[in-house]
Assembly symmetry: D2
Homo-oligomer: 351 residues x 4
């Protein structure tokens, strides 16, 4: 019963097979190999974006922070949701890579930025020399709360940013999960909705440790700047073929979408099992593969003692919260075992 | 005929097999998995250093820059050879990670720092508030010139640093090649010689893209700082098991030393073939797997036209230079083909 | 009618006289002059802190940002009020000087941090490697809202910080105004209340452009680090005697307190004049020399057209806001003229 | 006998008088005052540069580092003389302000960059993604060795930089001394010779602590970037009128040139007195107000014991070196006293 994170899952056999196939003879280093070239072509097709540029890095934190540094100067503001991964879970990486930009929080229910709040927050930022200046918008899809933005929502938010002259970055650590949750195409969810740069996450959806940064409309100067930033940050891996091979296999025959569909289906199955229980509340809608249940105090001991692994959250007023994440590898037996364990959890005495 | 770099070589089958073996069920992310724990134990044994701490990252640039940032404040000087990788080939990564430390160049023949020059350079640095302060020493073994330091040489240089209160970092992108070239043990080449932190390179010696940072005598506070720096730089990979598995397989049965021995042997075979040619001069002693031949102008066209791949260097006064690197995968046929091609190179007309 | 800021005021004659007196013969540069030495002795006496260290810089932004950089690592959190000068009015200087620390906002009424909110905010920061770590607390007295903290309030907040192991910085751009508003002694308002570093503001209280950074309990290593940071930031002025001379004259015979008393008295006179008007609301208590009136829409045009200078704020629902600041040089005639102008302002028609 | 530095001298009475005159009533802060506007007009006239932009800061280190940060990205190289102030005497300020650019040393006799060495050094920098990229050239006039560049020399060097697409910064901490030494006009020494940004030093030539950064051909975007960088670095002083007033008085009636002429004349008088002594060698030509004598070991004790103040340099092979700097305030009696003291110095016994 492993619900810690989707990055705890193993790698699908087809991805491993692709590594083996790539392991043949010498190849030019630093992304000058044939597989990396093939990947760019493939991503352009998948995103219907013939001018897209693609760069691979090993972590989502690197993908996000390098992207934001390319979009926002040191004296700029990056507008993000108050609970975005970039501001809560990256130990200040965006601040490091941007040389000190400020992450300005925008509220919104269930992990989604509220459009009016975004408009107000941007409007009151950067009014003078004394303030940090308006820099960029970053969205996350799937959000930290496990909800998703529709392409229309992204379009609305990116449009607000653009009305102030700001570009939009999309943190797609779980981009495939968002696609299958909404039925949107890659293009609809990104450049057609006004996204300038995408962090396309592979690691949480079956890869060893690969994320693609996809630029949809950047100038050659901007791309070269990104390449220098990536090298300077130690994120230009020499043996690029082994990264590209993984992503190619993952995009082949829609494997990435199949994996995401399995992960989301597991999330929904788990949510369905919990939704029927009066003692359990789901704090956010379950749109993909992340759940935030709240249950009676004492259950953590019962569940973790029974072998369930997940991140426990706050405890307050007799209630505990938790985060559960499913992956492509989560099986029905695992879900059933967890729900059985839940069924045996001690109920609080009536008041 | 691929002599571009040892990072152009493929991965040995045993490393791929280890990846497959690691790919089983869920594992805790961010280095809390069993393989990462096993790796630390194994490195401690290999280095005879029961207190060593080990952290994995994906590139040598990250390993070096994170190490130096841990040793040297923003206002400090990192003493390095004038042609060290950290100052010439990392696009300013040490400056980025240290927040602006200065790399102070120390001369020395054939890529090796001259002890007296080191003493003088440190002595005249940091004499007042107006100067950058003395920070750390970094050495490279195998050096950029393809030569090696003996443990005694490292001990002498690290001793000079220590006499000024400075720690020593060793960039061991080709550490295994240096070990087999000198016959030294891992312990002799590092902590017994005064090295505080080692960048233990795996990528250029058969791994997919894995380097280990090994601390020999750091406090818990220093190690925690390193962990924060690594996370903040996007270099904490979530699926740590796939990195650890590679390094474990590589250390198993001395695979790393066998690979390095093969690479060095290929280098020596190539050097032996070139050494007999009057038109060719080797600019540096060939201690490991890197050669710097100088030959008549015009040969680049002949050799590259004939299918040889390598980095050409400067052209001056009718002579061309080149860098040739061999790897564990360089075969005798490849060397023979290159030497045959050389044998057919046009000789300059006598004056 | 100049209420833009207290930094728009001229310099008192005694400060100019001190400059003239200091202008005699050569003096060692970089703070090694006699006046700088005398200043340290004087500050120690005034603050009853025989071990205090004192450093002069030219701006409050430098004083704050250098102090925070000394207290908080790049991966740390600086806890500050949501509207603190450091986060709203310094164009990201703390982020620049700290190399990317995060300013974490703590709410509280009228510019004062709420103790419980501080406790909660610190508690939920830095729980793991993935978050920025707890760094330091910074308070502002007089606050941005024109209110003051009592020594007891500072003691409570610094105590909360200390209970988490965190140091406290006090931004005293208007420190003298806070002293005379509360009747506290310099010692009571700082080290006796748990303050570790004070930005002692001179510029807004009569000096040309001088702020003192006062350390109450720092180690020699910490002080040396501060000196290097100051130099490296271009904030070590060579002709230190001209800065020290100003601060010495300002501390002499309590000139600084007299100036602050005059400024505060002008603020209270202005507040008293406005308080009686039904069309005007004061948004915050007027504890010192800053007022935030709210009045009917349209008054900005009337007042600014009539020659009043100040920063206008938001306009909402038929009301306008403004910030008015008085200084030691604000005269009764200026206040009277402004109130007369107010008295002639157009009243909105009754609904 | 005070030859420590020209920043040890007092302020000329006319500059103090200007401060007093400026001290009248309120003035808008942050450079929006009338004197600052007048200064820009005046600098444009003096430099025959109707589009020049002028910004004031308090130190030369700030002027230089802010200028270089505006010209050179974090991954760039700043080409400077091996002994330039920016690389030897600013504790890494350029690295701090540029976020880690690399200062690449160019040799040359007597503090002046050698043109061919500059061409070669730029040519071999930035050849690939792995290196820091070419950023900017910075020159110093008067040089650190006390020599000067003629406008033609500056033009040649800036031309080499421009041929690689690089801008040129001029560190003019002693700009007026260079002007009077060469007889060049401000325009000839700067934009007519290809200089893009000038650090115009006032502090070492009579001002309290004021340097002007002068842009000759910058875009509005670049100027706004500079303004943000200055604010963010804490170098935007609120009471700008007191800085502007000083520079205006200094430019009035060529006061700045008169002061520099006096300083240089004192330097030449001192040099003439030393040049006649067989025991003394002047290590560099004395073009302005800085001398580097070499004399017999033991003289430091004699001279410093006799009341002379200066920076002693290296001691080697029975010889001592020193740096002597004269200022506008150095009087004939001071020079005579020093030469008298020299005349009584102990001569080494003949071998």
């Amino acid at each position: 019963m492993h619900f810690t994170s989707d990055n705890a899952a193993p790698i699908p056999p087809r991805v491993l097979a692709a590594l083996t196939a790539a392991n043949c003879g010498p190849a030019l280093p630093y992304g000058r190999d044939d597989l990396t070239a093939a990947l760019t072509a493939r991503v352009r097709t998948v995103f219907e974006a013939p001018d897209a540029a693609v760069y691979l890095v090993a972590t989502g934190t690197a993908a996000n922070a390098l992207s934001l540094a390319t979009l926002c100067p040191p004296w700029g503001a990056v507008f993000c949701h108050s609970h975005a991964h970039v501001t809560e879970d990256e130990c200040g990486a965006p601040e490091f890579f941007t040389h000190g930009a400020k992450l300005v929080h925008v509220p919104g229910d269930h992990g989604r930025i509220d459009p009016q709040a975004l408009r107000d927050t941007i409007a009151r930022t950067g009014s003078s020399l004394h303030n940090v200046q308006r820099g960029a918008l970053t969205l996350t899809n799937v959000t930290e709360a496990g909800t998703v933005y529709s392409p229309d929502s992204i379009s609305e938010l990116a449009g607000i940013a653009r009305s102030f002259g700001l570009p939009t970055h999309l943190d797609g650590a779980r981009f495939a999960n968002a696609l299958v949750a909404t039925g949107a195409s890659p293009a609809q969810m990104t450049w057609q909705a006004g996204v300038d740069i995408l962090s396309l996450g592979g690691t949480k959806n079956g890869l060893l440790g690969v994320e693609a940064v996809v630029f949809f409309n950047a100038t050659p100067e901007r791309l070269w700047e990104f390449e220098l930033r990536r090298k300077r940050a130690g994120h230009l891996l020499s043996k690029g073929r082994y990264l590209a091979a993984q992503v190619l296999a993952w995009l082949e025959d829609d494997l990435w979408l199949h994996l995401a569909r399995d992960a989301n289906a597991a999330g929904h199955a788990l949510a369905a099992g919990l939704a029927g229980l009066p003692a359990v509340t789901l704090l956010h809608p379950v749109d993909a593969n992340i759940l935030f249940p709240e249950w009676p105090a004492g259950w953590h001991d019962h569940l973790q003692g029974g072998g369930a692994q997940y991140y426990p959250g706050d405890t307050l007023a007799g209630r505990e919260t938790a985060r559960l994440v499913t992956s492509w590898a989560t099986g029905p037996a695992e879900i059933r075992a967890f729900l059985d364990l839940i069924a045996r959890a001690p109920l609080p005495a009536s008041p």
